[in-house]
Assembly symmetry: C2
Homo-oligomer: 425 residues x 2
């Protein structure tokens, strides 16, 4: 097969007729498929059924002398702090356990910077005329959603195969109005990239003009390999401390994709200064998050080895789905030269960069054929992909049979969009 | 027994010797008792064990076509909204279901007024020089804690047996810097007062100079009778709507004292305008609160009748404890004329007003004899009780045997503090 870019007008026209026919056939099937969000599948949820059967008798609720059912222990059950400390390679006293959503902990960390300021001052961000924020892009739409909600000026930073473009980050951080940055350092959303050691070193040692610069380190996929063994990853708290930036960073993690997305537990990890400050502020907000659910997780997951064993079972379900996506792209799209993509070994997404100017058109064609993809542009600040190129494929939810059909629609739609654009030029 | 105020110096001195001896005996027992917080007892927690055994098989997690375990449904499970709508006599679409703490929903409602402003504008409170807030006092220390955390200027409003002093509230609300008010309308914390129909009418029809005045209606004890049958209570949303104040009010409730304090569910109820606005803001903060716990509560509590039946069982445990407190006060303190108190039929507290100037001293004597009471002053803004008189008795946690001992210490301590004060005058 020739690359589209090398085809003559007549060859493109002939290809268009073929692709149109195939697309029409697929559309005629009247499918209703969804690859929009990184939602775990029913099979993954069912796998965790035993967790719900683990607290049986009244005495089961006691842990370290604490009755998990009653008020108290703002920072979470000690046993639960210990579990996450092992997972993230930090100290238990650096862990704060939250509710079912790490997004809430992230939002609240930023909200408190606005209403109360950060531990090092100098003043609440709500008192400032402008807050600028670094957004490695493509990135996670819900991160950008938080920034947008608070009216930040989001500055996109291109992603490289090693993580964010650090030359640009270092330059931008010299602006005192730049108050922070979003990062998904391991299996980044959507690229599935693991930040390199050098990138992490440069982030941890970042010279920032804003004294209250806030590094939002969303380690959402810290143990989420679906291909191969667990990949150790440096603890960002120690890295930052090493360079005098201990108070710069908050790390986040959750069990949303370990146990249940709608009923898991979440944590943040931070320096002692930050922890003392946040506990003072959080004391006004909540008596404690759900400690029974914390205990249920501790009893079920036990320790890091227990978590990694469970993640292997998730990988057995997720691995074939990602292979299906990558195989389809390799077979159907690669020879045509109309898109490129990362080949992640963990996380929840495959990030596809089409030739410029066809992501939105591809999305629309998918939609019309019954396949909902993540909105084109969603992976960029303000939903605006300057190249109209990036598309996030989220293969976790559909059963494998449906996924094959979804990828057929996706590939046919992308070809059609590419051909129509090339022929219109 | 003569009232202390009517005793001669010599009589007071003789009484002091007796009380001192009794206090020393009690202190010598080396007790460690706690009546500081409205914590449910182990007996109450154990009673709800069956709730944790209610979700068994994979299909149990489906409700109205929604898998409670997965992402989605920001505003809560429809079945859970319906349950609380029945409890609060509002429409299901007026209910938003949160996590384990209504305090968090209250904090966030106010935090969003600071960062984003209210639905009717005019601007975020963080942009204002000053925010004043009406605090019926004695009141709930954690309400005042939220106000203090945001740097509000708290204005105490005296409580009457009908609720807050409405003449004063109406006068203060003419100040455009007064942005809101805390209320615990049924079995108020700590007085145990039910706001009268007239008080509610005057609150609902309040003329407020601030267009974005926020009525924080914490219906924490909406079904929490421990003596007698459920007392119906008007829906504040409809009341406010009647007087053109539909968007003024947020109502809050939770199952903290129905199921588990550390693992219950919470809600707010509000107008359609407020709901649309809050959902837009909350969308940036959280994907959804724990829907599995919501479903567990729905299946266990079923409906209002189910909740009221359960509350009768709580009352069987709590009723004797409150009678113990009231009997002790009646027998030991009433004849001396050194304190007065409400006799609540619901809620979690007995509010005691000692003669002026001895609450702190009484607290200290209790502490030294091994009994921790709610801090004297805690029921007032900034922890400052101008009369040094109000003490909150929280009898729910200790078993009845310990409670008898606690009340002995409490009464002896109060007598001792009163005698020392009277003899020093």
């Amino acid at each position: 097969m020739k690359k589209y870019a090398e085809m003559t007008k007549a060859e493109l026209q002939a290809e268009l007729e073929q692709v149109k026919t195939r697309y029409a056939e697929l559309k005629a099937l009247g499918q209703n498929l969804n690859m929009a969000r990184g939602k775990p599948s029913k099979q993954q949820l069912d796998m965790n059924g035993p967790m719900m059967d683990i607290l049986r008798s009244d005495s089961d609720y006691m842990c370290d002398g604490i009755d998990a059912r009653n008020y108290g222990n703002l920072e979470g059950l000690p046993a639960c702090r210990k579990l996450f400390a092992e997972l993230l390679d930090v100290k238990p006293e650096q862990i704060f356990v939250g509710g079912s959503a790490s997004l809430q902990l992230m939002y609240d960390t930023i909200a408190k910077a606005y209403t109360h300021g950060r531990v090092m001052g100098p003043k609440p961000w709500a008192k400032l005329d402008k807050v600028k924020w670094l957004c490695p892009a493509p990135g996670y739409d819900r991160h950008f959603g938080i920034s947008e909600s608070f009216g930040m000026e989001m500055i996109p930073v291109p992603m490289t195969p090693e993580g964010p473009d650090m030359d640009l980050v270092e330059e931008l951080a010299r602006d005192p109005e730049v108050k922070g940055m979003w990062c998904v350092p391991k299996y980044s959303n959507p690229d599935g990239i693991i930040y390199s050691a050098e990138t992490i070193r440069r982030i941890a040692s970042l010279q920032h003009a804003a004294p209250d610069f806030l590094l939002m380190w969303d380690n959402a996929y810290c143990v989420h390999e679906f291909d191969g063994d667990y990949v150790p990853f440096p603890d960002i708290l120690k890295e930052c401390e090493k360079y005098g930036n201990a108070d710069m960073v908050f790390e986040f993690a959750s069990t949303s994709k370990i146990t249940f997305p709608g009923a898991g537990i979440s944590v943040f990890a931070c320096s002692e200064n930050n922890m003392a400050y946040m506990k003072k502020l959080l004391h006004a907000q909540i008596i404690s998050y759900d400690k029974v659910n914390q205990l249920r997780h501790v009893r079920y997951l036990k320790d890091k080895a227990g978590v990694l064993a469970l993640m292997k079972r998730h990988a057995e379900i997720l691995g074939p789905k990602f292979r299906c996506v990558l195989d389809n792209l390799e077979r159907e799209i690669a020879p045509l030269g109309i898109a490129s993509w990362q080949k992640p070994k963990g996380g929840y997404f495959v990030s596809v960069n089409t030739m410029p100017g066809i992501a939105k058109a591809t999305w629309k064609l998918c939609k019309e054929a019954g396949l909902t993809m993540t909105g084109a542009g969603a992976t960029f600040p303000y939903g605006k992909d300057p190249q109209d190129s990036n598309m996030r494929v989220a293969p976790s939810l559909p059963p494998i049979g449906q996924l094959e059909q979804a990828m057929e629609i996706y590939c046919a739609s992308m070809k059609l969009a590419a051909l129509e654009k090339l022929l219109a030029e």
